[in-house]
Structures are given as structure tokens and as C-alpha cells.
Assembly symmetry: C2
Homo-oligomer: 148 residues x 2
DNA sequence: TCTATCTGTAGCAGAAAGAGTTACAAACAA
DNA sequence: TTGTTTGTAACTCTTTCTGCTACAGATAGA
């Protein structure tokens, strides 16, 4: 396991920002909803800012807001901005190069890894932030009729 | 990051077993090629055995061999046997349920996660172990002309 | 039956990665 | 000038993974 929870938090954060468009949201406020520390949120926002998805403002009455509309942000952009890629890692130690398998397997797996990453990206690119917001809105009515 | 290197090792191990079909391979021997400890290999083989991909034999002249032909084993089976799934994790702490976003985002992301997992599985299912072996064989000739 | 060999697994130590926290400089509105 | 907010460094704690030792149980072969 040990998967990355940053992505889930990022989607959460962006959804909140989308709901308060044209308003600076403070990291404290976001942290309260995600149930974590404000610094954790600011670190996350740093990545989203580098990717051009949000913009922050320091100082009094500062905060963060989306820098594009929710329809112009897709989940692949979010995923990539966190650079948490790699579904599986390669060998922790260099395999034994005296063995014919060990000598060549890395490059084969590396290519496979890239291919998988591309397919995840394609899948995520189909979802806009605006789609996620719609799904969450649907979830509000009824208890949880499954936002499939 | 912190992705799972188990998958890479598993493919490595299975490739070795395929090359010594109908022969019991010892965990020591595999460990030497993967460049790790024999116990690590035996733990890994346990998963593959539960999935019915290999069979082990204890005692003198024991070891492990494939329980099917390489053409009957695909990488999705390998991936699933390790149960290392989950491309991204959900929130480490329960989000604040007082917040409308926090209350519903988990189920939305959970569904997304399942969808991504399915698409990885579909992609991996296209590769048989026999395909991997072919790619590695190709890599032997020439230095590394890219086993794409 | 005895012995040498190999797997399966428990249990421990060390390393690595993350999360959470405190603290503070820099930016900025009022 | 003052109060507020981000950005970031630095630290601790926890969790997870790897590697390792040790040993019980299984088994082939003498």
C-alpha cells in the first residue's frame, strides 16, 4: 500500500475553492474541512500553484482561489501536479546483472510503467473538476445512493 | 511516491521460474538474482502461491515452480495477487462531516479509485508472462534498443 | 529411520517516508 | 504601523518496508 493521499486531499481542496469562487479562502479554513493541519494544506497548495491551478495571496485578507474555472481543470492535471506518479516502483536494489533476467528486466518494466501512467492520465483527464462537484451535489440528496 | 516494488520483483521472479520450467527453483537462487534476501522472496512467493500462479514444495530438493504455462499468466493476475492496489489513498483522517464537501467526497473518490484500478487491470491483462519473456530476450541482443 | 535440505513464518532492528506541529520571515490590506 | 496570512524550515512521532536471524515442519534420499 502506502499510496498517496495527497491526490484525495487536492481534489477536496479544489472542490472547496470552486464553491467559493472569487473569494480568498484561508488555509486554516481548508484544514478544518480536510481535518488536518494548515501547514499540510499550504504545502499541498504549493504544488497546485506551481501547476497553475490555484493562486495564493499573502498578507491580510489573503488566501487562495482557483486560477481557472472548474470546467477547465481536469483530474489529470491535479494528479500530475503532485508528481506522486508510479503505480509500482522498480527494484529497490539493482538486480544482479550476472543473471540474464536481472540484466534486462528493468528496462522492460520501466516501459510498462510509463504505459500504465499514460493510461491513468487518460482516464483522469476525462473528469473535470466541475464533474466532481456535480457528483458531490448529487450525493447530498439521499444518503449515499452511490455516485457511480 | 513510495510505490510498491513487489510487483517488479514478482515479474522478475516469475520470469526466472518460466525459464526453468519443470524444475524446482530455490528461494536462495532467486534472491541472488533479485539481489535481496531469501525470506523476502519467500514472502512474495506466498502471495503468488495463494493466487495459484506458482507452487512450492518443502524439504530436500524442494523449491518453487510455475503452476501454469507463461502464456496462461497475465500481469493483472500478478498485480492483483499482491493486493498492493490503490493508486491513491483516501484521506488519512476522516474529513470534517460538518462540511458538505467533506461529507460526500469520500464516496466519490472511492468510486473513482475503483474505476482507475479497473483500467490498470485491463491494461496489465493484455500482457502475458510469455510476452515479458520475449521482450527480455529481445533486450539481450544489442545493449538496450528499448524494449518498447 | 536418519540426515541434510528447503519452505513457511515469527519476531526484531534499522531505514525511509509521511504527517503533524511549532516557529518565524516576508508580504500585504487597512 | 499593525494585524493577518502565506511560505518554508526544522523537528518529532508514527507507520511502513526491508533485511535479517532463528527455528519448526516437511520431504527426498541414503
Amino acid at each position: 500500500m502506502a499510496a498517496n493521499s495527497q491526490f484525495a486531499m487536492a481534489v477536496h481542496v479544489l472542490t472547496m475553492l470552486a464553491q467559493k469562487q472569487d473569494e480568498n479562502v484561508k488555509s486554516d479554513c481548508i484544514a478544518a474541512s480536510v481535518n488536518t493541519n494548515a501547514v499540510v494544506i499550504r504545502r499541498l497548495l504549493g504544488h497546485l500553484q506551481n501547476a497553475g491551478l490555484v493562486m495564493s495571496q499573502t498578507g491580510a485578507s489573503g488566501g487562495t482561489r482557483l486560477s481557472r474555472s472548474p470546467a477547465e481543470i481536469d483530474l489529470a492535471q491535479v494528479y500530475d501536479s503532485l508528481a506522486c506518479g508510479e503505480v509500482f516502483a522498480l527494484h529497490p536494489r539493482q538486480p544482479n546483472t550476472d543473471c540474464p533476467v536481472g540484466r534486462n528486466i528493468e528496462s522492460v518494466l520501466c516501459n510498462l510503467q510509463k504505459e500504465i501512467d499514460r493510461s491513468i492520465d487518460e482516464k483522469l483527464a476525462r473528469y473535470k473538476l466541475s464533474d466532481i462537484i456535480n457528483l458531490i451535489e448529487q450525493g447530498k440528496e439521499g444518503t449515499s445512493k452511490g455516485a457511480a
